[in-house]
């Protein structure tokens, strides 16, 4: 028995020692840089929210709101309240996600304080096809959502993209990505409104 244990140690001591050393190295590196990585994530989210609702401070209003994505899938998202210089609520921002053409699309969506219209969206992450699906970050598509009523949005292949209503004109050659963004809005808006109201925050942001 002792001979077997000795043989095992003799064969694998380098692997065991190396594992400890490499593990320690990663732990030290992670400890040193993790605060900066977390700060980068917060800064990115804050920057995106500031683009959507300017001149506002953001505070966490409702943490971990669960949203039903359909097909038995759920996602959690934090809801941030945008507070203007006068202390009034300027709107809400929250993360949203859904399946895109190539991979998951993650958005930051902003709505007004009364939950009646959309303030816009920014893309947090996406791996959509370069030159086609990745145009969801472009103004042509994004600006159709600014001021659109908070309700079910419909995607149209042709139409007037300057007209602000519940009809969104798809990106040519990227129908799947366009549909994915509209679906994310349709999945999240009503559920978020219901959840936020249920948390005791009235629709006018008070």
């Amino acid at each position: 028995m002792l001979k077997k244990v000795w043989l095992y140690i003799e064969q694998s001591w380098l692997l065991i020692v190396s594992s400890f050393i490499f593990g320690l190295l990663i732990a030290v590196t992670n400890t040193a840089w993790q605060p900066r990585i977390e700060q980068n994530k917060k800064d990115k989210l804050n920057n995106l929210m500031n683009v959507l609702i300017a001149d506002a401070e953001f505070e966490l209003a409702v943490p971990d709101v669960q949203v039903d994505l359909g097909r038995g899938k759920f996602a959690k998202s934090n809801v941030y309240k945008a507070i203007g210089p006068a202390g009034s609520c300027k709107g809400y921002c929250f993360g949203a996600e859904g399946a895109g053409f190539a991979d998951k699309i993650e958005l930051v969506i902003a709505v007004d304080a009364a939950f009646e219209k959309i303030e816009g969206y920014s893309v947090l992450s996406s791996n959509e096809t370069p030159g086609f699906g990745d145009q969801i970050v472009n103004d042509f598509y994004r600006q159709q959502f600014i001021g659109a009523p908070l309700g079910k949005l419909n995607l149209e292949k042709t139409g007037d993209d300057k007209k602000i209503d519940d009809e969104i004109v798809a990106i040519s050659g990227a129908t799947v990505s366009s549909t994915a963004v509209v679906n994310i809005f349709n999945n999240y808006l009503e559920q978020m409104k219901a959840k936020i109201t249920a948390e005791g925050i009235s629709a006018d942001g008070k």
């Binding site: 380098l14 692997l15 490499f22 840089w33 900066r36 990585i37 992450s125 370069p130």
Partner: protein, 202 residues
């Protein structure tokens, strides 16, 4: 016995040209095709690979006399995974936008054949100095090819290189160059050109 091994000059020549990992050995094709939509991500990937190659070659070279044959590959992978994780954390901390652009391709350096190939072919057999030179030469050879590929694709896809407009205003960008087809065609033409230069028959 050290003097019977490869010389510094032969190691440098091999990495940069005669055994260039991309153009001659066709190794590391995944990042070569995936991250060369522009020069910046190509350069970042190349520098990350150089860092991992040098660190893993140093570790493997130092422990080469202690390695058991059946645990060799496991030890290589352990060392490579550690330095790739450090490179990934560095990019997330200090170059977050580039980290997001490169996505999963930095963690995927762990399975990049160039790294394990150099650990097996050079670092596990040679001294520390030659192992470092080999890592540097192979890494620079890989990075230069990635940057050339990235520059061609970025130029034809956007008219710019390093965000500097090169093409005339009338130039119509070739969207296909940003897509996988652009990577395959450009790399194919580069390989063909290299074969032509070296007189190698298909």
């Amino acid at each position: 016995m050290e003097n019977k091994g490869p010389t510094v000059a032969s190691v440098i020549t091999a990495g940069l040209w005669s055994e260039n990992p991309v153009l001659r050995l066709l190794l590391g094709m995944c990042p070569t095709l995936a991250v060369t939509t522009a020069v910046k991500p190509a350069l970042t990937m190349g520098l990350s690979v150089i860092f991992v190659l040098i660190c893993s070659n140093i570790v493997v070279s130092l422990m080469r006399n202690l390695l058991k044959p059946h645990l060799r590959i496991l030890m290589f992978t352990l060392a490579i995974a550690t330095f790739v994780t450090i490179a990934d954390l560095y990019l997330k901390a200090f170059l977050p936008e580039m980290s997001a652009t490169l996505g999963p391709y930095i963690p995927l350096i762990i399975v990049n054949c160039i790294i394990i190939c150099r650990a097996e072919a050079c670092a596990s057999k040679c001294g520390l100095f030659i192992s470092i030179v080999d890592a540097l030469a192979m890494g620079v050879g890989f990075t230069v090819v990635l940057c050339i590929l990235g520059a061609i694709r970025e130029l034809l896809a956007t008219g710019m290189v390093f965000d500097i407009m090169i093409m005339p205003k009338a130039f119509v960008p070739w969207a296909a160059m940003r897509m996988p087809v652009g990577a395959f065609i450009t790399l194919g033409l580069m390989l063909g050109l290299v074969n032509l230069v070296t007189g190698k028959k298909a």
